[in-house]
Amino acid sequence: MLGNDYIALSPLLLLAGSCVLIMLLIALKLTHRNIQLSSLLLFIVTFFSLFYAQNLTPYHMEPLLVIDRFAIFIMGLIIFSGLVVNILSYIYFEEKEESPKEYYLLLFLCTLGTCVLAASKHFISLFLGLEILTVGLYPLIAYLRTRHHNIEAGIKYLVLAAFSSAFLLFGMALIYLQTGSMEFITIGLSLHSLSSLPPLFLTGLGMMLVGVGFKLAVVPFHMWTADVYQGAPTPVTSFIATASKGGVLAVLLRFFFVIDGFRFRIILLMFIGIAIASMIIGNLLALEQKNVKRMLAYSSIAHLGYLLVALIPGSVLSIQAIGFYLVTYFITILTAFGIMTILSTKENDAEDIESYKALFWKRPLLACIFSTALLSLAGIPLTAGFVGKFLILAASLQTGFWLMAMILIISSVIGLYYYLRIISKMFSGRGGVLPDEKRPHPIFYLISVIVLSMLTLLIIWFGVYPTGLMYLVEYFQLK
């Protein structure tokens, strides 16, 4: 390896090194607080290493990885969400009886896996990244192993993820059989002269879609979502909802742009079908949920549907729309789950919609933050979610996908109902079942609240003045 290799790979290397370092620190029997702080520091260092790596872009590590601006962008998002999750985790796990230290190690492992995904341009690195992520997620989901839902969710995720990985691998093998390569570019070149897809390739692609669709939780591969979201510890849920999906979406985007997949009618139809089904079914299933985590799980299915709507046109505008929407989605979801994390107690998470009753009159700040996040998810102006949705609509209308745009609109109106349900619950009456005002960890509580307030300000800032973020996304877009 050359010196430049180290610099370009420094984010990945740092993440891998952090895993080891944290393991050693645990062996030294440091306290939870010290482990948390040192992992926070490591996250920050990794985040800043991106700035150094960025100077070398595009940097190819043949044949597996490419560090280009887009990879840096997605890595930045992922590491950022890992960082926020890390901050929010302290109070949550300090309250529980299990030893929380290994949690941070696993968090680094998952972040590493997702970052590899974001930079991969080869099936091998894709699979490696995906498996690092998935293997890290199994214990994370079942981390609070004495609780009923956690174990259930962990087992479900294990079985289904293993199953989908098998599909993915078989699909890759079939594509390799057809094209003789596992590198995206070579696959793209071998397809270049074809006007229609060979059946073997199509089968392989279909199987890969099953694997990827499972990770993205799009309809019809969404069955696990609600249970896992509900069962996993809330900080882990927010990591699944943001980082793991963002990484997989990034690699999907890269793959289809390199092979120019949307030339083929059948792929287009497949994606349109998935997008439409995800938007409608996700929002419909969320309607009557009484558990906020499940509700957000179904709503995340719909949001992935929106992202696919932006992906399908395959134009420049659609890459920008995806970039913008990903940023807003990450921030918003982190904020929403952050509030749930803060409100959770030792015994149970704040997941029942009744536990938000009258929140606005008891903790106005938290309620305002949560409302802003929900309104942003619903795509109401003044929040970043609106601009994101606007760009997606623009991307799909520019290329004339009227049907998808109409369905996006109809389904987001349906979605509005359940977001409003939570908000009106927060504003209704007095009473409810919230813990008393005494907080066990005042300093960390304060830090968490400050982080969440800053995220909220970002949501509003990007909603009112999105130009800066647009330039950023444009600078870092996939080329």
């Binding site: 606007f390 609509l393 623009a394 209308l397 109409m406 509005l416 409003l420 130009t467």
Partner: protein, 532 residues
């Protein structure tokens, strides 16, 4: 610059009220009152300046504008401009804003800061809608006024508030999103025609749209506006929202929010899609007439005081649609008058209903009756307002409805005849209202208080305005005339010349300040004429 100040004052005042509301319960009221009054005074002095100055009577439609880049990558700018019509509606907004603050002076006791924050932000959103000349910005403001309104109904409303708030929000949001689609549609069509991707209203005017597409885009806009207005099949949110909202909420809903729908049709639908608008004119007029009669009949059969008033709004807004789609100056002048007078008379009735509810703790008319004896002042005022609502000559509403009917008669005789029946119905329900509430045997034995000083001030302001509008409506008509003239010209040309002039932008002259855009425009009209 005055335009941005207006929005800034309202939003800033709202934020201040929210912050100071944490410490003191009466401070937010005063802040809100000061904010709206300052805005009102600014605006009125501006109006007086303009009407004595040279601008308003000349061919120049636009009085002042402000433009600042917002999201240049997509051709979105923070572009505000007003002509006489917007100016009228802005004055109305601030006038009713003052009354809204005053009318909820004692009604709201909890969370006063947040209440006034919502109130002021609704007003800011509405003023933004009346000023925005960038379609993206317009949509932005269009939605900004929804959320605070949702909170206003959902938190401070009466028993069934959650349901009403949902229904209001989902109806308007769904229709608004369809409008967003249409906005994007026209944006891309204009962009691909000219290579200039922009949301600027003035540049989008006269975009060459294929007739079939134009029809669908027009429907997208129309749905958003007629839901707000509301036109009859889309009205079902209105009675719930109006009756459950707190007094100030009902006042703003009836007085201002409904007007944004009519404003949108006049400002966007007609100029952007003249041909498509003409093709649906007869249907729209028919629905308008159905609305007039249907609203009146339903109003007659209500027992809930606020629901009754809400249905009269449906009826009165039918006149607005009838007038707009008659496409002639008389009717359009009537429409402008109707917007102003309906806002004031119906707003006053809602305030009255709020006062009654404060005293009797009910809106059910079966539990009222014979109140005149106890409250002669209120009874007399109510009588006056009912007379205004039924269109008694000498009061503002008469002028409005008379002008509309005169204009519509030229366009469609039979529908106008039917609409005229609506006037009779309105007399029936207004008189029934007075009969049930103020006359007849007294059912309420506990003594109730007549007007307080604050209430007299509110009612005096409203009744005097109605009287003024009925006796001397000329200032209103003069102010709106240039804009109405343009619309009328647009459609009379179409009728005579057969072929429309979609590229003819001379009809919508813009301020000369913006020289750069004038170039673009002339370039545009060249390309358009080439196409032709």
């Amino acid at each position: 610059m005055i335009l941005t100040y207006l929005i800034g004052i309202l939003m800033g005042g709202g934020a201040l009220a929210l912050l100071l509301g944490q410490w003191n319960n009466s401070l937010p009221k005063w802040i809100a009152l000061c904010t709206v009054s300052i805005g009102f005074m600014l605006l009125v002095s501006f109006w007086i300046d303009q009407s004595y100055g040279p601008n308003i009577l000349l061919s120049e439609t636009w009085i002042t504008e402000y433009r600042h880049n917002w999201i240049p990558a997509y051709g979105i700018s923070f572009h505000l401009a007003v002509d006489g019509f917007s100016l009228l509606l802005l004055v109305l907004t601030f006038f009713l804003g003052i009354l809204a603050v005053l009318s909820s002076w004692n009604e709201v006791k909890k969370r006063v800061g947040f209440y006034h924050f919502n109130l002021l932000w609704i007003l800011a959103g509405i003023s933004g809608v009346f000023m925005a000349m960038d379609l993206f910005l317009f949509y932005f403001f269009w939605e900004v006024m929804l959320i605070p309104m949702y909170f206003l109904i959902g938190i401070w409303g009466s028993e069934n508030r959650a349901y009403a708030a949902y229904k209001f929000f989902i109806f308007t949001q769904a229709s608004g999103l369809l409008m967003l689609l249409a906005i994007l549609g026209i944006y891309f069509i204009h962009g691909s025609n000219t290579g200039n991707y922009t949301f600027n209203y003035f540049e989008l005017l006269g975009t060459n749209i294929p007739p079939n597409t134009a029809f669908w885009l027009m429907l997208g806009f129309m749905i958003a506006f007629v839901v707000k207005l509301p036109l009859v099949p889309f009205h079902s949110w209105l009675p719930d929202a109006h009756s459950e909202a707190p007094t100030a909420g009902s006042l703003i809903l009836a007085g201002l929010l409904l007007k944004t729908g009519a404003y949108g049709i006049l400002r966007f639908v007609l100029p952007l899609f003249p041909e498509a608008a003409q093709s649906v004119a007869s249907w729209a007029m028919l629905l308008g007439v159905i609305g007039i009669i249907y609203g009146a009949i339903l109003a007659y059969s209500q027992t809930d005081l606020k629901r009754l008033i809400a249905y009269t709004s449906v009826s009165h807004m039918g006149f607005v649609i009838l007038g707009i789609f008659a496409f002639n100056e008389l009717a359009l002048q009537g429409v402008v008058m109707q917007l102003v007078t309906h806002a004031i008379s119906t707003g006053a009735l809602f305030i009255m209903a709020g006062m009654l509810k404060e005293r009797l703790h009910t809106r059910d008319m079966n539990l009222m009756g014979g109140l005149w004896a106890q409250m002669p002042q209120m009874g007399a005022t109510a009588m006056f307002l009912a007379m205004a609502s039924l269109g008694l000559p000498g009061l503002g509403n008469f002028i409005a409805e008379f002008l509309i009917l005169l204009g519509a008669f030229k366009a469609n005789t039979w529908l106008t005849v039917l609409a005229t029946c609506g006037l009779i119905f309105s007399a029936v329900y207004s008189l029934r209202l007075i009969q049930r509430v103020f006359l007849g045997p007294s059912k309420h034995l506990n003594p109730v208080q007549d007007f307080s000083c604050r209430e007299i001030t509110i009612m005096a302001a409203l009744t005097l305005t109605i009287l003024w509008l009925g006796l001397y409506p000329q200032p209103v008509i003069n102010t709106a005339r240039p804009m109405i003239h343009k619309i009328e010209e647009l459609f009379s040309k179409e009728n005579k010349g057969g072929r429309a002039l979609p590229g003819d932008k001379s009809l919508f002259l813009r301020p000369i300040k913006n020289i750069q855009n004038v170039h673009i425009e002339s370039a545009l009209s060249n390309t358009n004429s080439d196409v032709r």
